[in-house]
């Protein structure tokens, strides 16, 4: 299965929680950190279940989520 991870831009996140509803593997949770604008931002659990489906990022109104596809390092292109 494809492995992925996301990076949440905490300055842009407004804690609307739309991404949490979209995430099928429940890798995003409501965090406890408050950003400089007073919004309670979401957190990425990073427990290895993210498959880089990008649904969270597509639905994020504030373009606060970056999605990465993670793969093992290849040796000699193999």
């Amino acid at each position: 299965m494809r492995k992925g991870k996301i990076k949440i831009n905490e300055d842009r996140c407004k804690g609307c929680l739309l991404c949490i509803e979209q995430c099928k593997v429940k890798e995003i949770i409501q965090g406890e950190k408050v950003n400089k604008y007073g919004h309670l931002v979401v957190e990425f659990k990073n427990s290895g279940k993210c498959n880089a489906c990008t649904l969270c990022a597509i639905v994020c109104p504030d373009a606060a989520i970056e999605v990465y596809e993670v793969s093992e390092e290849k040796v000699n292109g193999k």
Partner: protein
């Protein structure tokens, strides 16, 4: 480990944070438009006309040319720009108070003239910036600050369906209603906007995309509940789908 980025903030958005409330549909549509402009590689060739309303600061968020128009007159300004610079992608971005109320004359005549522009119409069933007053698009029985007991047809009339109203006009070439409540509908909205822009680039004529958009602060609802309300109530009055497509 190799990390390959597959989704990021579009280049056509600046680093300025949106001034919209958490979960607001305006933010999503701004982002989608920026993505479409990036994909079409038209950042240097686009002129947007921003409305009066919550989206009045759109020029702070989009990293391409954006100008401002008096309340409701966005289609008139976009008409002028498109006629003087016909090689540019010109689109008007308007809310429902701006387009369906104070700018009614401008949008109807622009559509009837069949101006080769694209209109992005954000329908959140109330005047957002001024505090949630009744708009022509407000649903029956919907409570707003100026209809505290709910909209009744006798005093306030019926919800105005702009796309159905403009549909018979000969100058109108493409009309579609979409929503931004989940990932699938966001992708559909993006495709609709892309189609509207591509019709303009092919000189086909006037196109308008209505986006059912949430206004959590003025609806007094959480963002997730607002999207649910769009699915359950607003979509019934304003059904999503293609209203007109001459192709």
């Amino acid at each position: 480990m190799i990390e390959k980025i597959i989704y990021k903030k579009p280049d056509s958005l600046t680093d300025v944070n949106f001034s919209y409330c958490p979960g607001c549909g305006h933010s999503t549509v701004h982002k989608i438009i920026a993505e479409v402009i990036d994909e079409l590689a038209l950042r240097e060739n686009t002129i947007a006309v921003a409305p009066v309303g919550c989206a009045v600061f759109a020029y702070n968020f989009w990293d391409f040319d954006v100008t401002e128009a008096p309340h409701g007159r966005t289609p008139a300004v976009a008409t002028a720009i498109k006629r003087v610079l016909p090689d540019r992608l010109v689109f008007s971005y308007q809310g429902d108070g701006d387009l369906a109320s104070i700018g009614m004359a401008e949008i109807v005549h622009t559509a009837n003239r069949g101006e080769n522009i694209t209109v992005i119409f954000i329908n959140n069933t109330n005047y957002g910036m001024t505090g949630g007053q009744l708009a022509p698009t407000t649903l029956l029985n919907q409570k707003t600050t100026t209809s505290p007991f709910g909209r009744d047809a006798k005093n306030y009339g019926y919800p105005f369906k702009m796309l159905e109203f403009l549909s018979p006009l000969e100058g109108v070439k493409y009309l579609e209603r979409v929503k931004v409540t989940d990932a699938a509908s966001v992708v559909k909205t993006k495709n609709a906007i892309k189609k509207g822009f591509s019709y303009q680039l092919q000189n086909i004529g006037f196109s308008m995309i209505e986006v059912l958009s949430s206004c959590p602060a003025n609806w007094r609802k959480e963002p997730l509940d607002s999207n649910k309300w769009i699915e359950e109530e607003i979509s019934k009055v304003y059904p999503v789908g293609k209203i007109k497509d001459i192709k």
